[in-house]
C-alpha cells in the first residue's frame, strides 16, 4: 500500500508530549508554603467568582426528596428481576410445603449445614432480595407474605408435608429462625404450624367426623326405643326375682 492510501485509513492522533523539568523532588502540593499576609490577601481578593450552577432556581425545584420520589416512580423494573420473581411465584404456587426463615449472619459453611438438614426433607433453598419478592407478590393473593420478607429472609420449598419434622429440625438449626409457612396453599404462622403438627392423622379425623355425623341418628333411635328397652328390662328383672321360688317348690315333688 502506498503512503497516500495508508493516510486515508483510520487517522492516528499523536498525543502532545511536553516534558516538564522539576527539581530533584516532586512539587509540594500537600503542604504548600503559607504565603505572606499581603500576598495571601491579594490572592484571596483576586480569586475568580464563578456563578452557582443553580442560580435563580427555586429550592423547591432542587428538593432532593422530591427529585428522589420522581426518580423512584420513573424507575423501570429490571427484566431479570421480573423473571426471577415470576419463577419464584410459580415455585411457591406449586409447592406443598413452604417454610420462610429469617437468616442470621453465618458463614457459607453454617448455611451449608442448615441446607443439608433440610435437604433430608427434600426442601430446596431459595434466596432472593426483597425487591424481587415485592415484584413476585404485590397485587397477588400472596401479598400477606410480604410482611415476612423484610431484612434477610430465605425460603425453603418442598413437596413433603412433614410439618412436625420441620419444626423439630428448625430448633436444631442455629442460623435460621422460622417465621411462617405455607402448607397446601394455606398461609400459617409458627403457632398455626405447631397446631397443625399436633393434629391427629387424617384417618382418625375422618373416623371422628363419621361418628359425629352419625350421632343424631343414633340418639333418635335410642330415644324411640328407650321406653321399650326399659319395659323389657323391668320384665326380665321381675322374672328373675320370681323364678327361684317356683323352682324350689317344684323340685321336691318330682
Amino acid at each position: 500500500m502506498s503512503l497516500t492510501q495508508v493516510s486515508r485509513l483510520l487517522p492516528m492522533r499523536n498525543p502532545i508530549i511536553m516534558t516538564v523539568r522539576t527539581r530533584t523532588r516532586a512539587p509540594n502540593i500537600k503542604r504548600p508554603a503559607v504565603p505572606h499576609f499581603t500576598r495571601a490577601v491579594v490572592l484571596e481578593l483576586t480569586k475568580p467568582i464563578h456563578k452557582k450552577k443553580d442560580e435563580g432556581v427555586h429550592p423547591r425545584e432542587n428538593c432532593m426528596r422530591k427529585l428522589r420520589a420522581i426518580e423512584g416512580e420513573m424507575k423501570q423494573v429490571n427484566p431479570y428481576e421480573q423473571i426471577l420473581a415470576n419463577e419464584f411465584r410459580e415455585k411457591i404456587e406449586n409447592a406443598k410445603l413452604v417454610a420462610i426463615f429469617h437468616m442470621l449472619p453465618t458463614s457459607e459453611a453454617g448455611l451449608f449445614a442448615a441446607r443439608l438438614q433440610l435437604i433430608k426433607m427434600n426442601m430446596k433453598y431459595i434466596k432472593h432480595n426483597n425487591t424481587i419478592m415485592r415484584l413476585a407478590f404485590m397485587g397477588t393473593k400472596y401479598e400477606a407474605l410480604l410482611s415476612l420478607y423484610k431484612s434477610t429472609t430465605c425460603t425453603f420449598v418442598g413437596d413433603e408435608i412433614a410439618v412436625a419434622k420441620l419444626l423439630k429440625i428448625q430448633k436444631k438449626i442455629s442460623s435460621l429462625v422460622l417465621l411462617g409457612g405455607i402448607v397446601e396453599g394455606r398461609f400459617m404462622s409458627v403457632q398455626d404450624l405447631q397446631r397443625y403438627a399436633n393434629l391427629p392423622s387424617l384417618h382418625t379425623l375422618q373416623a371422628q367426623l363419621v361418628s359425629i355425623l352419625g350421632t343424631p341418628a343414633q340418639q333418635l333411635s335410642q330415644n324411640l326405643s328407650a321406653n321399650q328397652v326399659e319395659l323389657s328390662s323391668a320384665l326380665s328383672r321381675y322374672a328373675d326375682d320370681t323364678k327361684p321360688e317356683d323352682d324350689s317348690k317344684a323340685l321336691p315333688s318330682s
Binding site: H102, L104, V190
Partner: protein, 138 residues
C-alpha cells in the same frame, strides 16, 4: 475573611446513617451480658427493626467478645410489641421496648448502658502501674 491555608475539616466524609451504624457495631461488646432474648411477632409493622438488630448482635466479631453469652430469638404470634431483654452478669435486666425505636437508637443505647462498662473495666486495668523487670524482681 478566613485565610485558606490552614487545615480545617476532616478528610473522611461520613455517609450519615450507615457510618453511624458501623461505628456503633464496632463498639458492640457482649462481655457484661449473660443472655439476650429477642422477641418479636413477624407480622407486626415494626418487627423488621428487631430483625435488623438481631443481625448486628449475631455477627461473629460481636459474639467473640463473649462466647458464653446466650443469644436467643423467640418468634411469637400474639401481636405483642417487639422487645429485647438483656440480662447482665450482675443480675440486672435491661428491657428495650423497640416498637418506636430505630436500630441505631437501640445500638447507641446498648453501647451507652452495656458496652461502656467494658471500657471502664479496661481503663481500671490500664491504671495499674506497669512494672519494669528490675521492679518485678524486687
Amino acid at each position: 475573611m478566613a485565610l485558606p491555608f490552614l487545615y480545617h475539616g476532616s478528610f473522611s466524609r461520613s455517609t450519615g446513617l450507615f457510618s453511624a451504624l458501623a461505628k456503633q457495631t464496632k463498639l458492640l461488646n457482649l462481655k457484661p451480658t449473660k443472655r439476650i432474648d429477642f422477641t418479636f411477632d413477624p407480622f407486626t409493622d415494626n418487627a423488621h427493626v428487631v430483625r435488623n438488630v438481631v443481625n448486628y448482635f449475631y455477627q461473629d466479631k460481636v459474639r467473640d467478645t463473649n462466647p458464653k453469652c446466650l443469644l436467643k430469638t423467640n418468634v411469637v404470634n400474639d401481636r405483642s410489641e417487639p422487645i429485647i431483654v438483656v440480662k447482665l452478669v450482675d443480675d440486672k435486666k435491661i428491657v428495650f421496648k423497640t416498637n418506636n425505636l430505630s436500630s441505631l437508637d437501640i445500638l447507641v443505647k446498648y453501647n451507652e448502658l452495656v458496652s461502656s462498662k467494658v471500657k471502664v473495666d479496661e481503663a481500671v486495668d490500664a491504671a495499674k502501674p506497669v512494672l519494669t523487670k528490675s521492679q518485678k524482681r524486687r
